[in-house]
């Protein structure tokens, strides 16, 4: 059985400055399968919380449409339609975006433009799909640059324990690189014991209790797992 989940929590710095959560996420299930998306609006842009919501809405639209795009055509489609949503005046709305969807058999696509982390366990093997970055923290490419796609791939979630996790940089930057597989497993183990609502509550609590000193960024995670 495929299950999808997600949660987001505003970062302490945005809360302090009375700014909205600039991250957004979407989880949707239909006869076509399961889809998740996360987006992280740029802190330096005034309406990036609107830009991030627009991005995840487009992922859902594409998933639910009758279009059958090759994985390499997803990023250009998202970029083009996201810019069009703002009549090509998108500078104030810049955002990153990570997406993944699979059909009922677990076959699908995943991709990423901008920072964050895309983790997958496919046919029992764990992979960090996001390449190592030469940027510093909070320096990122955005959805307006379709050529900046960092990950674009077909995915297969075929056996129990397989899954895909999408994480914004508020979480990704504070995870120990050598612990990513264990982090993935911990999330899977929790999801296999909780229902959707309990999972969301647990994730929110974990993000509220984040322990990295001086952490300030919004935090968002979403994923799809195949469970027993």
């Amino acid at each position: 059985m495929l299950v999808a989940f997600g949660a987001s929590h505003i970062g302490p710095s945005h809360k302090l400055d009375r700014l909205p959560n600039q991250d957004a996420f979407r989880v949707c299930q239909s006869h076509k399968g399961v889809c998740v998306a996360v987006a992280d609006g740029l802190g330096s842009r005034p309406f990036s919380h609107i830009g991030s919501k627009a991005a995840i809405g487009l992922v859902r639209d594409l998933f639910q449409s009758t279009k059958e795009l090759h994985h390499s055509q997803v990023a250009p489609w998202l970029s083009k339609n996201w810019k069009a949503a703002f009549n090509d005046k998108f500078d104030a709305y810049e955002t990153t975006c990570l997406w993944a969807w699979v059909d009922e058999y677990g076959n699908g696509v995943a991709g990423q433009i901008g920072d964050g982390l895309l983790l997958i366990r496919s046919e029992g093997r764990f992979h960090v799909l996001t390449p190592e970055s030469a940027n510093f923290g909070n320096q990122t490419q955005t959805l307006s640059h379709e050529s900046a796609v960092q990950v674009s791939t077909n995915i297969r979630i075929s056996i129990p324990g397989d899954g895909v996790l999408l994480i914004t940089d508020g979480i990704a930057d504070d995870l120990m690189p050598d612990q990513l597989e264990y982090f993935f497993d911990a999330i899977y183990q929790k999801q296999s014991r909780l229902n959707k609502r309990q999972m969301k509550r647990w994730l929110k609590r974990e993000m509220e209790q984040w322990s990295t000193p001086l952490h300030g960024d919004d935090k968002t995670i979403a994923g799809i797992f195949r469970v027993e």
Partner: protein, 223 residues
């Protein structure tokens, strides 16, 4: 109790500040080296007492005088810096050597992890380097990570080599600051301290804040 804490980094994100200080013999004029030592001490003390709201300021000082540049202070959290720096003015101006050391520091992901905020590199000099500096400067501007840092520069003295120093300064909010004397060195450091402190407390620590040089009639600059 958190189930995910064991996967989380337990160090704050650093905001690296690297000072490239000209300690050639020219710096002994007008007591400039003494003022530079005092300014560095005051800046580090100020960083150490910041509330560390968003980022932890880490400082490194690379002195270039004599035959080669030297890392006087390895990158260290400001609140952990112990003792005073006692830079001495002597010899030539090996800027190329200093840039090579700074590049090595910035490109090293063990010392400056990818999660660090964008580093700030501050150059104070009379200019007129007399080692091979063009190649190291070109690499500094081109290399994967050092090309992304913010660079401030101060030209010391009326005869300073402004062309080279202007090329170094790359932040539109902070063009080359031209100083003539010890008081100007202090004004520059106060502006840098305020700019870095503002970044460390901002919700957007990567975003530059304008370098606002205090008025020349400011008092309270004795050490």
């Amino acid at each position: 109790m958190s189930d995910l804490k064991k996967f989380q980094v337990q160090n704050a994100r650093p905001l690296p500040v690297i000072v490239l200080a000209d300690t050639s013999a020219s710096m002994s004029e007008d007591g400039n080296i003494g003022v530079l030592n005092g300014c560095l001490k005051e800046m580090i003390a100020s960083f150490a007492t910041e509330s560390r709201l968003r980022a932890e300021i880490h400082v490194s000082v690379i002195a270039f005088g004599g035959d080669n540049a030297e890392i006087i202070l390895p990158l260290t959290p400001a609140h952990q810096v112990e003792g005073d720096l006692q830079l001495k003015a002597e010899g030539m101006t090996p800027l190329g050597s200093a840039l090579t050391l700074a590049s090595g520091l910035i490109e090293n992901k063990e010392l400056i992890p990818s999660r660090a905020y964008k580093p700030l590199v501050i150059l104070l000099s009379y200019g007129y380097p007399n080692d091979v500096w063009e190649g190291p400067f070109e690499r500094f501007q081109r290399d994967e990570r050092s090309s992304k840092v913010t660079r401030f520069a101060m030209a010391i003295g009326p005869a300073a080599d402004e062309e080279m120093l202007s090329d170094f300064a790359n932040d539109p909010e902070a063009p080359l600051f031209r100083g003539e004397n010890a008081r100007d060195i202090h004004r520059f450091f106060r502006a840098v301290t305020m700019s870095v402190s503002a970044r460390s407390q901002s919700a957007k620590p990567n975003q530059s804040t304008p370098l606002q040089i205090p008025e020349n009639n400011d008092e309270d600059w004795e050490f």
